[in-house]
């Protein structure tokens, strides 16, 4: 008898963003490990738009269903736009899991990740801690049209209300390339040398090694994500805390949930599977860096 085989569709937000590449590695690893465990074949079908585009994601889900995928994991660029696509997949017998960004009104059976508003709040809280609760901060936010980033901005602003000593200068957007991000930070610092803290809700500038041109420690910085290129800033002391999203787990856990559902017919205990942000600091950076040996695409 031939082995049972499953195809899992994986739809992330954008192809070029390295965090999703790590998710992909996680999914592929999960497919291998679970395949061995249950003696089945699992294939990961990666269908991610080149640039962020919710409509393309919806189309990808529909196409995956038609192409016979057995389960789909998706990180929703726009919850409203994806709700119907997810529902219709479910109706066609294809269970859907969401990771990173949820579509709460849809019939997805599980969501893995952290709430974007919570993520923003946590960034602000960590930043407030290292700044001693006072100072002028700027928010760096990437593409202004991305709803999830807007939610994080919202989170930062919410949390900032708790700290009367902290004023937010503005939210600065940039084209999502490391260089444009780094240039934006430079410009803002030129024009606002009184800024003493940066809340980066996407770590774009930290992919370059020349983004933060101040003496380490004079200005505090907390950023989301802790990719290998970003870790150097922790070591140099320019960045105090990186809040690592569990990007590898996005793929791994989603695949696990889906296989549990379709192969073992087992539902998760909780629809919301929360993946906490892991604070990475100078102290644990080396241990954390080891993870990337496993998480990077080979």
């Amino acid at each position: 008898q031939t082995k049972k085989s499953y195809t899992i569709g994986l739809v992330a937000k954008s192809q070029g963003n390295p965090v999703f590449q790590a998710a992909r590695v996680g999914a592929v690893d999960a497919a291998k490990e679970l395949g061995k465990k249950y003696d089945i074949n699992i294939k990961i079908d990666w269908r991610t738009p080149n640039e962020e585009d919710a409509q393309k994601q919806a189309e990808a889900i529909e196409q995956l269903v038609l192409a016979g995928a057995d389960g789909i994991a998706v990180s929703c660029s726009d919850a409203n736009k994806l709700t119907d696509a997810i529902n219709s997949a479910v109706k066609n017998g294809v269970p859907v899991a969401t990771f990173d960004s949820d579509a709460p009104a849809s019939k997805r059976f599980v969501t893995y990740g952290v709430d974007d508003i919570k993520c923003g709040e946590q960034v602000m809280e960590e930043l407030a801690k290292v700044m001693g609760g006072k100072g002028v901060i700027a928010i760096l936010a990437g593409n202004q049209n991305a709803p999830n980033l807007q939610k994080r901005v919202q989170g930062v602003k919410n949390a900032a209300k708790k700290y009367p000593g902290i004023t937010i200068r503005d939210t600065y957007y940039h084209k999502e390339t490391p260089q444009d991000a780094a240039a934006k930070v430079e410009q803002v610092m030129q024009a606002n040398p009184d800024i003493t803290g940066w809340a980066m809700i996407g770590g774009w500038p930290l992919f370059t090694d020349n983004a933060l041109k101040w003496q380490a420690g004079t200005i505090k910085c907390v950023s989301v994500d802790a990719l290998p290129a970003e870790l150097a800033y922790l070591k140099s002391g320019h960045v105090q805390i990186l809040l690592a999203q569990q990007v590898y787990e996005w793929g791994y856990r989603s695949t696990e949930h889906l296989i549990n559902k379709i192969h073992l017919k087992k539902n998760p205990e909780n629809v919301k599977d929360v993946s906490p942000l892991i604070p990475v600091t100078k102290e644990n950076v080396d241990a954390f860096a080891k993870n990337w040996e496993k998480w990077l695409p080979k």
């Binding site: 726009d78 409203n80 202004q144």
Partner: protein, 379 residues
Amino acid sequence: MSANNSPATPVRSRRLRLQEGGLLVVILLLGVLLTVFGGSVKVPKFETNAEGERVRVFRTNESGDKEPVLVEKNKFLNAQNLAQVAKDTSFIAIMAVGATFVIISGGIDLSVGAIYALASVLGALVLQRCGPEGAHAGLSPWISVSLGMLACVGTAVLCGFLNGGMIVALRVHPFIITLGTMAILRGVAFVITKGQSIGGFPQAFRDLIRWEIGDGLSLVPLVVMIIVTIVGGIYLARLATGRRVYAIGGNELASKFSGIQVNRVKLSVYIISGLTAGIAALLSIGYYGGATSGDGQGYELNVIAAAVVGGASLAGGKGSALGALLGALVIQLITTGIVILQIDQNYSQIIMGIVVIVAVVLDQLNNLLAKRRLLSHSK
């Protein structure tokens, strides 16, 4: 004198038919390729139950478990998939028809993606108000749907008018004007939505656009696309105003000399381009149920690419509505093909780039052959 122009008519029309023939051949080729190499897929069988809902058919297998009944289908060549391809094509194709007008007139419209976003957002806001959780939830579905459509399409037409008006009044190259409005309109969309997604539309609206027949085929986008193409085609080929679009694209000065009101024609093509972006936006918010200011990012290039692959000449004076549709279809088939043939997504951009170039080269080759044939016939 009248004797020697009789052979001419068929010559011209034959060539015209052949012109889009090149693309049709490319599309057929892609279709055959996908049918043959795509293989087959097992999908659950559906039936309509007593309540009129489509539900899966189950059976009990040997081990006593309930198991969905599966049917085997060709992966590419089945009604669902074709409907899906048509739907996915429709948004770009509809806008490409409008872009073709602009391109024929010798202009360019980089703001279609931004118009699409702004129209989506404004339409969505109105619809949300009338939606189940909106302030005006009580409005009759007809009125609320009409209001939403009006807001969406009206905004788009207005944006087109703005483009055309500035191009005509300021006498600045359309590339610059629409590059400017591309930023402005998207900026406005962002300010309005604050970057948040807008959803929660009246069910009537969603049902209208997602209306399905038979085996879950939703054909509204397809039908709209065909109507837009036909109307656009008739406008360009059969109406006097259509001739004028070709004329100003061919030689603006000569058109002016022969008394064509060039400015009016220019204005009209940008309005049409806006209109088609509005129609596409309306379909998209209806079909997908949400709108953000980031919608349609980068679509301007896709739309222009579809028009140009469809035979529109960026130098002006050449192009057709049908071509735009076929151009969009070619591009969509590549995307679909990559999924169906299970090609690693990493290579998708490379393949897309190559196929676009190859399609245009093939199309051109076909035109060349047609001309050769014509030449040898006329010998």
